[in-house]
Symmetry: C2
Subunit: 314 residues, 2 copies
């Protein structure tokens, strides 16, 4: 069996598994073909992960498969988009059957979990690098942009923050404790807030996913919206596992500055907050409000990007 056949064997089950009616033609021709529903717009984002930068050398390929699609899908969540399909450009040093089996297993689980069908891709030889482009749909004009935050909106975040950042200290743990295991899970298997993003469509005034850290990513909303934010550090949803592992102060610092949690940071107008369904409101914590001006006040820490020396590729 040639290398091409080998790779096709592992990835072909990912094509067609979600049976998205909108994917007219999947992998195998010069292009894939997608039908966007009438009245909808296509929403798409591309993310690259480089070995030794975005994930450690020798990283578990099953985790990598899940994580690479989760990271990309998180951008769809931030726009409030319904997931449709994705492409995978995979550069590999060698076509190892074992690596491919585990990688495709993790990718396949994520593909089903997120409703993203494999539409096409390219496989090349070289240093391990993955580029995934995800496609989603929104009703025309319905995408949640970074630029819509306005004075007096609530600043909210979903879930708890800082766990993926804390996990970096335990990646090599041989027998991790329960708390260590909990934060490692957040690093290895982040879950993009796709349902929450869709539920916030038409209600949130701005959104971003937290990949570089709360302060850095909220900063992108504020800059795009031409406003500032007043935060209450006591309101930031710190992870209790991280607080036990690292202490309260470091847990707050990680919640503010560490990346890779893939929660959402959203601005919600006060009027819209009251009309949020309970199932949505309970997923969000109000951590402050949008104010006139620029930048973030109420917090001492300086925004710092994640540990990887990238080019600010958010």
């Amino acid at each position: 069996m040639g290398e091409f056949e080998l790779i096709r064997r592992y990835f072909s089950p990912l094509a067609g598994q979600s049976r998205a009616a909108s994917l007219v033609l999947g992998p195998g021709d010069d292009c894939a073909i997608e039908r966007v529903a009438p009245g909808n717009e296509l929403v798409f984002s591309v993310d690259t992960l480089v070995e030794g930068g975005h994930f450690p050398a020798g990283y578990n390929p099953e985790h990598l498969g899940w994580r690479s699609l989760a990271v990309a899908a998180s951008d769809l969540a931030a726009m409030g988009a319904q997931p449709v399909c994705f492409t995978l450009a995979l550069t590999l040093p060698e076509a190892s059957p074992e690596w491919l089996e585990h990688f495709s297993r993790g990718l396949s689980r994520a593909s089903r979990a997120f409703g993203l069908e494999l539409a096409g891709g390219d496989t090349t030889r070289g240093p391990l690098t993955l580029t995934l482009q995800v496609h989603g749909e929104v009703p025309a004009g319905g995408a949640i942009l970074r630029s819509g935050a306005a004075e007096d909106d609530y600043v909210c975040v979903s879930g708890t923050l800082g766990e993926a950042g804390a996990a970096l200290d335990y990646l090599d743990a041989v027998s991790p404790s329960e708390d260590e295991q909990a934060v490692l899970e957040r690093y290895h298997a982040p879950v993009p807030r796709l349902d929450l993003g869709m539920a916030l469509q038409g209600l949130a005034s701005a959104a971003i996913d937290i990949s570089d850290g709360l302060l850095a990513d909220l900063g992108h909303i504020l800059e795009a919206s031409g406003v500032g934010a007043q935060l209450d550090p006591r309101a930031v949803p710190v992870s209790s596992a991280v607080a036990r592992l690292k202490g309260e102060e470091e847990a707050l610092r990680l919640a503010l500055e560490a990346g890779d949690d893939y929660e959402l940071c959203v601005a919600v107008p006060r009027g819209a907050w009251d009309s949020l369904p309970d199932t949505v409101r309970t997923q969000l914590t109000i951590i402050g409000k949008v104010v006139s001006g620029s930048g973030i006040t109420g917090i001492e820490a300086a925004p710092v990007a994640g540990g990887y020396d990238h080019f600010g590729s958010k």
Copy 2:
């Protein structure tokens, strides 16, 4: 100026330069947004180029900028799609202003020439690797697939073949001759057959772009269509420059087996051939016909992929 600002400075002119009405939101948010015209389908393809594999180490960045988009756009040509926009995932060892200036210049020229607007991307640090995804549109059901070739169709190719393959011997030439310059131009600055592809929509029964070599790529059409082909080697449009440089026999071998020319190989039903506009027909050479069975007859050479040891990533 930070590295992010630096990169943004070079690429921001590429966003919006073609003013595609269908690109609702370009780079800068979590996702880009595209409106597909009613009655049309989205057509997309992703291609990765790795330094040392798809292009030589230290390759001229202006050529690389043009070539990376041309290679990707060629897949749109093969589907008969109207180009719309593209994303660029660029992994760079360092953010060198000089490299970025030349790369973005080549990319910008290609972007304007092909009508492909920059919609978004990701820039990361690592070994030089480029992944481009191109988006186009076709009327619903109008894409030219690989699978439509039928018995008695003409097998045709556009332009002349073998020049990009021959160019590999002259990449380091200090003062190339006129013929050497001509073949180098084909390697450095391929021109995807976008207009021809669109003109063949509804007329060609199958199409592919020639990236891996005529025999290999025609083989993909035959396999997808469940047919064979009878070729006349004397009809293959060999490059006269290559014939002068390499002799007739080697020129034919390169025309059959070398890749990177980015011409189109198409199957055209005999009835449709007569109704092709003259401007289209003159761009094509009939090199044989589709027959029942499988594989290619009439040619001695065995299909060989290009010089790069990839994973058959066509």
